[in-house]
Chain length 370, copies 2
DNA sequence: AATCATTCCCAAACCGCTTTGGGTGCCCCA
DNA sequence: TGGGGCACCCAAAGCGGTTTGGGAATGATT
């Protein structure tokens, strides 16, 4: 790869090199570009933006000059003139109680960012404590900083949905919020079905005492997963034991602590259904600390969001898992939102992903009862 | 909370209720606010921005009215008028080869976001493939989208530093880039010292075959960590065995694979020095798969960035670890950058964090040689 | 009483684009 | 030959703030 510094000494600058060297630093604006071309700013603007009322020959000249001078229209001016922010907001809440940053966030963002890049939008991140969230949304709207918002990790009856409707800011929810009054756009995984299938799978393997290591159960996804877990039991005429259910923020140490406690019970679970790879790792640690073997003595199924830094094994999955790519969710949620923004007349959009059940090495038949 | 609609019939609207009901949704602008007050936009602007040439009584009136009408100045207009973006860019690269999103990213962002919120800046994220990175920086500058940039995960001789100097965009590097020509602002952990101390700690425990599970060694931090590891050996007259060193993207499966391979060697390591919690988890998995006991048969020290979703245990650390908060790094890097932006005359700022060595349950004396 | 600062406020220019509402030249057709 | 219709282009008015450069009171000074 040439870097431009290994040219033979004495070669000097070629004219174009010289020109480039100059142009590289002239932050040229529309007016200047227009006067260079002997055209009006109007025409240059139209030529560049593909309006039909400009001669194709002229357009070609303009485009060439723009490229040559590295003309880039000033974003700030475009935004003021068009009244559009060309930006999408992501509000990430850092709860005062729970200082955790959602670990799926980075991958979701990466997916969304791909879409934004392709469609010419900027991505704006706002970090707020949960108490400040409503104010943050209102400001985003009234200051005109963004054209729309992605709502992360909705809770049941999430107040943000009503709020965003009220202030009239387009939005797409990553997840759903049971009990919202009005229709709204969302994109979600079928959490209930995923956990129902996973539970059935364990029941089929003979497990009867299945622990649920869930996320915080005011989160909508956790409620649905729990309901899937309970449904599967009911269908088989089983009654899940409340003593086998845990709910907390999904950290590694939570999974570890919960599993240790559960395994220490008189009638311990033979299987665990876990809401994320991260607590699942903690569950595995607990199982191994107890001298048990994963997949033989104890089975584990986890939800796998396909986090890029936490792949579920390479060829063979480590965990049997219900799997759905959060990055793909990011890509599509962003696209939905932009569609909504660019056509305000559109009805709310919804998209449901199905999670696939990948059978890995962490599940096996229930051990014979000791 | 009265909504203005439940007043008794015939009571009519009180003036204030009426006003409020209207004002709540009128996205009022400066001109309107000014005319409401019987003042000029100039005066209102000055009053709100704390200029001295406005009567304190007038200022109070203006401030009260602004609050009452929920006036929020339009960000787009401010940006155009002042020529400042009031936004900081974070460019996150998604390598074409390595599809991984840096797992420390979310926590760093959370920290930086706190600072931005406090100081009135927006955070702009751009996701690009590594090939597009230079173009992304140039555009950010020439379109005026941001006032400065945080550079993430620098490589040795990172070309971005020269580029940013060239295009004149203020920046702070999270990490350092050995071999940069000019001085620049950075904030980093003392990676070399951290790994030197960790290695010494293991040597003191009698370990002689210490494996290094490093990140990609074109990353600056990985180079420094390796050099700390090597220095410690040299100081003690030891020669580290190249067969014990691994370098790759820091995923869980990488840690697992590397550890399995190393443990299968004829003269396997008795200790592992790992570059992040995530591969360390993989290392632990490998150790347990081999039927070995962590902290007794094999020791592990890891670098712990204090990721919020991957805490190193609760009271007692799981891993012995060199620890430094990436969230705090985010907070401070953001503050440094804003200082730089607001005072362009400032010399480059640098800040070095020391990582503390936390002794946990994953290290112990080297086992007697079999 | 005339002069000079101060204090407080305003009109208008400006930031860099988009967009409205023409205007000019040319060709075509009756 | 004159009017209508295109095809191209431009001047000027926004967008919603900030900022420059006064100007009118008021009070202090000589």
């Amino acid at each position: 790869m040439g870097n431009g510094f290994d040219a033979p000494a004495g070669a000097g600058y070629s004219p174009t090199t010289f020109e480039n060297a100059l142009d590289d630093f002239a932050p040229m604006n529309l007016k200047e570009l227009a006067s260079t071309l002997g055209l009006s700013p109007t025409t240059v603007s139209r030529a560049l933006n593909g309006y039909p009322e400009v001669n194709e020959a002229t357009r070609a000249r303009v485009v060439a000059a723009a490229r040559q001078h590295h003309y880039q229209p000033n974003t700030r001016a475009i935004r003021l003139a068009t009244g559009r922010a060309m930006a999408i907001g992501h509000v990430i809440t850092v709860s005062t109680k729970h200082e955790i940053v959602n670990p799926i966030f980075a991958d979701f963002i990466a997916g969304a960012g791909e879409t934004y890049l392709r469609r010419g939008y900027d991505m704006l991140l706002t970090v707020v404590t949960d108490a400040d969230e409503p104010r943050a949304y209102r400001e985003l709207k009234s200051r005109g900083t963004v054209d729309g918002i992605i709502v992360h990790t909705p809770k049941a009856k999430d107040p943000r949905i009503g709020l965003l409707h009220e202030i009239g800011l387009p939005f797409v929810v990553h997840g759903r919020a049971t009990g919202a009054a009005e229709p709204y756009s969302w994109l979600d995984v079928n959490n209930r079905r995923a956990f129902q299938r996973a539970t059935n799978f364990l029941i089929d393997l003979g497990h009867r005492r299945i622990a649920l290591i869930n996320g915080l159960e005011y989160m909508d996804f956790a409620i649905r997963r729990r309901s899937g877990y309970e449904n599967a039991h009911q269908e088989r005429g089983l009654v899940p034991d409340p003593a086998l259910m845990r709910s907390d923020e999904m950290t590694e140490t939570y999974g570890h602590r919960a599993a240790l406690e559960l395994l220490a019970q008189p009638d311990p679970p033979t299987a665990f259904l876990v809401s994320s790879m991260i607590p699942a790792i903690g569950v595995r640690r607990a199982i191994e600390e107890r001298g048990l073997k994963l997949g033989r003595d104890v089975s584990v199924i986890t939800f796998d969001d396909e986090l890029s830094y936490l792949r579920n094994g390479e060829d063979l999955p480590i965990f049997t898992a219900t799997r759905s790519s959060v990055r793909e969710a990011g890509r599509q949620a962003a696209a939905m939102l932009i569609d909504l923004i660019e056509d305000p007349a559109k009805e709310p959009l919804t998209r449901m992903f199905e999670a696939e059940l990948m059978v890995g090495m962490s599940t096996g038949p229930a051990p014979a009862r000791g």
